[in-house]
Point group: C2
Chain length 339, copies 2
C-alpha cells in the first residue's frame, strides 16, 4: 500500500487490490476474530440464535440496465451474501445517498423494484436512512443494504470452506458474465445492442435446495465483482489444495462471449449477480446438480471443476484444446462500478 498514495479504481475491483486494502487497512485496524474470517457474512452467536450479518454498497453505473436497476441489485446482492453463508435471509436495511436533483420518478421506480425483489425473496426491509448531497457530489443514487439472516443447521464451516476435500466437485448454477456485459452495454458511451440481460436475482430459494444436502455442500460464494475466476483464486489461496476448472463445462452465452472478445474482457472475471459457486462432496455432486436444475435459477447448472491435490493454492483452467493456464486474482479493475 505504501507504493500507492491514493485510492485507485482497482481498490474497488474485488480483486488483488481490494484484497490487499482489506487486509492491510480494515482487518488491521478493526481486528477481531469475526471480521478475520472475511466471509460474505459475519457469523454472530447470540444466546440462542446464530445469525449472519452482511453489508454492501451499490454504486452501479448506469442505475438502470437491461434486467434490472440499482434497486433489485441492492436487494439481491445482500440476500445472496446471506444465502451463500448458509443463512435464511430475513431482514434488510436500506441506506440511500441521493444526489440533489434526482427525479422522483427514478427514485420511485427504484424503490418499487426493491420492494418487489424483497417480496420475492421473502425478506423485509425494516430500517433505513436517507442522505442528500449537493448536485455533483454523488452520482444520482448510491444504496447500501445490510442484512441479517438466521443460520440453517449443518452449515458451520461453509463460509470458510473448512470441510473441503480432494475430489470435491465445483458447481455453478448457470451462465457467467451476463450482469457485467449487460451493464457495459447500457453505458452511454458504448452503443452496443447486445440483447444481454443481467442475471440479477435472489438465490436464496435455489440455495435452500442445495442445503438440504447438509454437510455435503462445503462452500458457497456468489461470483459478483471479480467474477468466477476471483472466487476460485481466492478460495484456494494459501490452501493445501488446488482447483482444476474445465473450460468447456463453464456456461458462457454466445453474445456474452462475443462482447467480451470485442472489448477485451475475460468472462471468468466478469461480474455476475445471480450466480453461486458451490463446492460439494463428490458422491453427491450429481444429486445436488439435479436438484439445482429443477429450479428456474439453476436450470443451466453445471459441474465445472474439482478440488485437486496437485498445484496447491492455484486454480488451473484446463482449456478445451488441451492447454492450461493459471487463474489468478485480477490485479487492477477491468469494469468499474458494475455493482
Amino acid at each position: 500500500m505504501r507504493n500507492n498514495e491514493t485510492i485507485l479504481l482497482g481498490h474497488g475491483s474485488g480483486g488483488r487490490l481490494t484484497h490487499d486494502l482489506i487486509r492491510d487497512l480494515f482487518v488491521k485496524y478493526f481486528k477481531n476474530e469475526i471480521l478475520q474470517t472475511q466471509g460474505d457474512s459475519a457469523i454472530l452467536n447470540f444466546s440462542n440464535d446464530k445469525l449472519a450479518f452482511t453489508t454492501d454498497s451499490f454504486v452501479v453505473d448506469p442505475i438502470f440496465f437491461p434486467g434490472g436497476n440499482i434497486g433489485n441489485l441492492a436487494i439481491a446482492g445482500t440476500v445472496n451474501d446471506l444465502a451463500v453463508s448458509g443463512a435464511e435471509p430475513k431482514y434488510l436495511s436500506a441506506g440511500f445517498i441521493l444526489e440533489e436533483g434526482l427525479s422522483f420518478e427514478y427514485l420511485e421506480k427504484i424503490v418499487k423494484t426493491m420492494a418487489e425483489e424483497a417480496d420475492k425473496a421473502g425478506v423485509q426491509i425494516v430500517t433505513g436512512d436517507t442522505k442528500v448531497v449537493e448536485r455533483g457530489k454523488c452520482d444520482k443514487i448510491f444504496i447500501n443494504t445490510s442484512g441479517i439472516g438466521t443460520l440453517f443447521p449443518n452449515t458451520e464451516g461453509i463460509v470458510m470452506g473448512d470441510h473441503i476435500q480432494i475430489g470435491d466437485k465445483i458447481i455453478i448454477n448457470g451462465y457467467i458474465g451476463d450482469h457485467g456485459m449487460a451493464v457495459m452495454s447500457a453505458r452511454n458511451n458504448l452503443k452496443i445492442n447486445s440483447n444481454i440481460i443481467s442475471d440479477c436475482a435472489c438465490l436464496n430459494k435455489l440455495i435452500e435446495k442445495a442445503l438440504q444436502f447438509g454437510h455435503d455442500v462445503k462452500f458457497m460464494r456468489d461470483a459478483t465483482r471479480g467474477g468466477l475466476g476471483t472466487v476460485l483464486a481466492e478460495l484456494c489461496e494459501h490452501k493445501s489444495f488446488g482447483i482444476n476448472l474445465l473450460e468447456e463445462n463453464i456456461p458462457v452465452r454466445e453474445n456474452v462471449r462475443g462482447m467480451c472478445e470485442l472489448l477485451g474482457f475475460d468472462p471468468l472475471y466478469v461480474a455476475n449477480e445471480g450466480k453461486v459457486v458451490m463446492v460439494v462432496a463428490k458422491a453427491y455432486a450429481d444429486k445436488i446438480l439435479s436438484s439445482l436444475r429443477q429450479h428456474p435459477l439453476g436450470k443451466d447448472a453445471s459441474i465445472i471443476g474439482e478440488i485437486v491435490e496437485q498445484h496447491p493454492g492455484r486454480t488451473w483452467l484446463l482449456t478445451s484444446i488441451g492447454g492450461k493456464r493459471i487463474v489468478d486474482m485480477p490485479a487492477g479493475e477491468q469494469l468499474p462500478r458494475i455493482c
Copy 2:
C-alpha cells in the same frame, strides 16, 4: 411529493421533507409492521433473542472537523441509534464508498479513528464492503454503518414512547448545537475561528446508567439532524399530549449561540452527535438526572421540559422573558451534510 419533481437538499434534513419522503415512498412501498414503527432502530424478535437493527450513511462535509472526523461520527451515530432504542450495541458493519484519488493517509486516519471509537464503545466491526467510484462521482468518502444490539430487559415501548404520561420530564445530557456549528466552522468558505468542538461521542455507557431505572425511562432519541426541536416536534405529533420546553434550562454554549446568531441558525434545530433526549417519569426525574451527571458525557445534563395535557400534538418553547412559540419540524434544510 407530486409538487416536487426532484430530490432537494431538504429531503435529507431530517425535518418535514425527510419525514414526508419516508412516509410517502419508503414506508409506502416497503410496508411492514417493523418499519412502520420508524424508531431509530428496528426491533427484531428471534427465537430467543430480541435485537435492535439500524443503519446510517455518513456524508459529512468536511470529513475532518474540530472534535472528530467522518470515522468516529459513523461509529457514534450507529452506536447511539442502538443505545436510544434500549439496546446494548454489539456488532457494526462498515460500508465505504471511496472517491478515486482519496489519499491513503486520510483513509487510514479515518479507519484508525473508527477502530478507536468502536473500542471505546465496546462494539466490534464484523463485516464490511468497499466500493470505489471515479473522481468527481462522490465527495472523498461516504461511510455506511449498520448495527446490531441486544435489547435490555424492560425497554419495550421505549422506541415509540408508548408509556409516556402527562407530567413526565424531558432531560437532555448537555449542551446543544456543538456538532453542527463545529462542522460549519470547518467549512472552507467560512473562515470562522470559533473554538467550537463537536460533541460527537458514543452514548451507550451513559444511557446504560439511565436504563437502570427500567420503565421509568419512557423514550430516548439522539438529537442529530434536525436537532432537539425536530425530535420533540416529531415525538408529540399526532399524540394526545403536548410538550412545554423551558428555554432557560436548555444548555447552549455562548460561542454556539453567537455563531448561530451570526449565521441565522436556531440552536434548537442544529445537529448534535452526542446528545440524547429522554422522557422520564416525574417521580424519578431528579434521580435519573443525578445519575447521568455522574458520567462525563452527562455532567451538564438538564431537565428542559415536561409532557403536558394542553396543546396536544404541539411543542411549545417557553422563553425566558415569558413568551412562547411553537417548535415545529423545519420545512427545508438549514445545514446540509452535517452527518
